[in-house]
Subunit: 350 residues, 2 copies
């Protein structure tokens, strides 16, 4: 087996701090252009179309644009457009497509319909010269360079960063601007835990299933972490909000059941601590990703995040240990991390 360092996945994961810094330090003009158009039209509602990893960026947008911009965000159900031919009213909304490749026909069709109805349309994509890019009034370029590994990593954090920049451009706030400017500096030590993750992955060599739990901003991180583990390691990994988990699925938990908890510092820590205590009463195995002492101390296994990152930006950094975990778990199992079985880089769905 070739060294993990030679894989595209390893390299793309490690490119993230520099790519994120570039997006923040040199923001593209189109972000301000889109924000200006949204303000001019008085848009309060965003309709997002995305699949897979990009849909998880949409989940982040639902919290971020809600909490910072008071916008209501709907996640599109593309089959209403493509299969039923009965799209909802979109007039007066921002219709936003998010796609690494810009090629999935169902996502493109949502933007095409949005434009037909007179809505403002925008795309966040790594390939501006794509069907999705052409269907949008304004294109935000992820500028992540070619992503060759089938599991998306750097385009995901670039999508989140772009959304954070867009949110701040929509409602400028000195604290948020300062948070963004400081963020790349906090990432310099993000790979300090890498050797620890590589060893920890061995413990889960024979894990067949697990759940990932996050809520609020890091609900998206729970989804994206579980998707990486599914794609790369073929482990059954189901994401939940802590609240949804308690409304039924908590029944699954018994002795040794692996529960991965996303608990970056901020308003959700108390909720995550309560969840950890609940599943520990049932003898779960708890892995915590956090920069806070309380959840880390409770954990059976710790994945420590850099300190000083505000909650609203934490999904961009908190997914990185998850990406590393997925990669090392796949490697420990002898799988090719760049070519998971059954996946294509461009998935066309209708």
């Amino acid at each position: 087996m070739k060294p993990i360092q030679d894989s595209h996945l390893y390299q793309e994961i490690h490119q993230q701090p520099a790519l994120i810094r570039n997006l923040i330090d040199h923001p593209q003009d189109n972000i301000n252009a889109l924000a200006e158009e949204v303000r001019t039209r008085g848009i309060k509602h965003v309709f997002i179309a995305a699949r897979g990893t990009s849909d998880n960026a949409g989940r982040y947008a639902k919290y971020l644009l809600g909490a910072h911009n008071q916008m209501d965000v709907s996640l599109a159900t593309p089959s209403l457009f493509t299969i039923y031919g009965r799209p909802p009213y979109l007039e007066g909304s921002l219709v936003l497509g998010i796609s690494q490749s810009g090629k999935s026909p169902d996502i493109v069709s949502v933007l095409t319909e949005g434009r037909r109805q007179g809505a403002l349309t925008a795309a966040i994509t790594n390939i501006p010269d794509s069907d999705l890019g052409h269907a949008a009034d304004i294109v935000l370029d992820l500028q992540a360079g070619p992503e060759i590994s089938l599991a998306a990593t750097k385009t995901y954090t670039a999508q989140l960063t772009t959304l954070a920049l867009l949110s701040t451009a929509l409602n400028p706030n000195p604290q948020h601007t300062e948070d963004l400017a400081a963020f790349p500096g906090h990432l310099k030590d993000i790979f300090a835990i890498e050797d620890h993750v590589a060893r920890l992955a061995e413990r889960y060599r024979y894990m067949t299933h697990c759940v990932m739990i996050g809520r609020g901003y890091n609900y998206a991180t729970a989804f994206e972490f579980s998707l990486k583990v599914k794609e790369l390691t073929y482990t059954i990994a189901e994401p939940y909000s802590s609240a949804d988990f308690l409304h039924g699925p908590v029944a699954l938990v018994d002795q040794g059941f692996p529960v991965f908890v996303l608990a970056p510092s901020g308003k959700m820590v108390g909720e995550m601590v309560a969840l950890i205590k609940t599943v520990q009463q049932r003898a779960a195995e708890v892995v915590v990703i956090s920069d806070e002492q309380e959840p880390l101390t409770l954990a059976d296994q710790q994945l420590q995040l850099p300190a000083g990152i505000p909650e609203w930006l934490s999904p961009i950094s908190a997914i990185i240990p998850g990406q590393l975990f997925g990669m090392y778990l796949a490697h420990t199992r002898g799988f090719d991390v760049d070519q998971p079985r059954g996946l294509n880089k461009v998935t066309k769905t209708w």
Copy 2:
């Protein structure tokens, strides 16, 4: 172990045809009152707050109110209201809470905020005299009688039926009215497969994990079927749309991997047939719930639905074999079907 027929779950599952008939044959005045108010205010956007089984009714509403009423439906993220204290703009929307008990504080807080912002508020609940009922301008009563089994069944199909009646009251259409009137008649043979389900459950006695796949109207059914299997049998069961499944998680499928496919007749059958063929190339074990020959013929195991039910109403009937399967699988494993471990009838989350 007591006979399954003596369980509340068995009885509540079997009460469904009569309860659904009652809701359709004697529609409550509040459905028309709510529809009239939505029309008067020119409301095009619905904001739904729900958890667990009720959230799956919200998923049905997203397709139904989209396809039949061109309304855009957002599913609420309650933590924006309760934990972050940063709710989105709701003015001009219908804010709809769905809850069997009407007691979950996070769902109530979404309606309270909707009312504060001047939005129209409504509740769909089995307990009109509840916090949720009191927070709503208009209450739609599920009239399902007490639900004692911890796993919700009859309140779910009553929620879907109420949503179908509301959708039809919003945009009256002779075909839909006729479909609704004929629907209870199609349910008379719904339990004809019960002995078959009870035998089939034995085949899955040692199943540790599975996926449930539906799309469009029956995306909700995939979610609710998987929730029943999780709650009642402690099996890892993850729901997907066929399109989302192909964007990554299909990598999970190998020899004998159990895939439950919801394929009632209608516009989604072609998509489900293609999905079945894809996973069969990877030697999956495919169980199909359908009334259509093509998907049933492809299946390893068949769960046949009554014929003649239009796609938009099919989620109400297609979940019943799923409820039966969950119950018999739990019974085969020696579990108490009325008292799954770790669940309470009223789950209070904030």
